[in-house]
Assembly symmetry: C2
Homo-oligomer: 223 residues x 2
């Protein structure tokens, strides 16, 4: 069965997270829009990805226009910009699915779990965007080093968020990116997955590595 082609906007998508996900989704046949505060940077990133993939399937836009054009909106912005970004896309995001990749790291203690008052970044997004928009959190734990090089990412993706069907859709997008996704439950569980990033950063520092991750065990490897 042919997978459904989606129109996916990746806001703040000029960083390595956004470009890495965009690269993998575009390769899989999705229409990817790289969004940025600065249109020039978005266009440059789109050009870079198209050169890698060899097709004109990635386009660049400013964040707001990208949100308007897409059916699925992915947030890969720094936590400092998270609240503002959610507020600014509230109208164009109505009725759409928002995938929140944000990790609420608070420097300098990035190895200590420090959640916003909403409970997690994903819950903050859901509060701001309102119930006409579904927020699902994913991809917070993976190292983005290998996404652009077709490398194997030895880290599973835990998917939390509003609505089982939405989580299942995001799991299919996780799989389209070449990763293994798991339904990790309702949006209240996002604190676990976002907070895990602080623990993995701590392990990276302690062991002098840069891609500590997690794998789910005990479930048959048919997945």
């Amino acid at each position: 069965m042919e997978a459904t082609q989606r129109v996916i906007a990746i806001l703040g998508g000029t960083g390595k997270e956004g470009k890495g996900l965009g690269y993998r989704w575009a390769k899989k046949g999705h229409k990817v829009i790289i969004g940025s505060r600065e249109l020039d940077k978005a266009l440059d990133a789109a050009t870079e990805l198209n050169q890698m993939i060899g097709e004109g399937v990635v386009v660049g836009m400013d964040n707001l226009q990208a949100a308007e054009e897409a059916e699925i909106i992915v947030l890969t912005v720094p936590f400092q910009a998270h609240q503002f970004m959610c507020e600014s896309i509230k109208q164009p995001a109505k009725g759409k699915l928002v995938i929140d990749v944000t990790v609420p790291l608070v420097p300098p203690k990035v190895t200590k779990v420090q959640m916003p008052s909403a409970g997690s970044a994903a819950q903050e997004a859901q509060e701001i965007l309102g119930m006409e928009t579904a927020v699902v959190a994913a991809f917070q734990n993976i190292s983005y080093e290998h996404l652009m090089s077709d490398g194997v990412v030895n880290c599973d993706v835990l998917v939390t968020g509003t609505g089982k069907g939405n989580r299942e859709l995001v799991i299919s997008l996780v799989e389209d990116a070449g990763l293994i996704g798991w339904d990790a439950g309702p949006i209240e569980n996002s604190v676990v997955v976002e907070g895990m990033t602080s623990i993995l950063i701590g392990l990276n520092k302690k062991y002098g590595v840069h891609d500590a991750g997690i794998k789910i065990t005990g479930i048959n490897n048919a997945r």
Copy 2:
């Protein structure tokens, strides 16, 4: 080098978690005290373990006496009894290390992360016990099915809590139980590990298994 023999009290230790940990530690040469609200049950559990190990190294006591006799106190009580148990051992726990195994599950929605107001069970314990007692959280994610049968537990143990040295001591006890332990940072990070249990319960239900777990990846397997 001979490992240091510890005197470890396991409060609420007649359940499968407590007995499983007690069995493995006693086999490794530690002096294990099984504590229970009911002395008879504690004595029965101690007898059961001694019959398995073949030595009189496990004793049974009521919870309070067990806490008084031990140098390390392990809490394996249901979350409903957690607050009361912490209050009742406040005096005997002074100056000692408390290992909190409690997972704050709130029925009926045990697959949804629901933390106490302190932020996590471990932080609740630390608040009640005060800073003269160090609280370290561990063992919340493992399935206890295999502990009593010398089986391999395919799940790592993330260790969070007050004081790096205390976490390292607990990691050595994790290893004495035949498991792999990781320093997962300060006590504020306990929400991640405690909450992970709700996610694993959800995966158990979804996939019809009973020992979904997690493994840390990306760090050399010398550990």
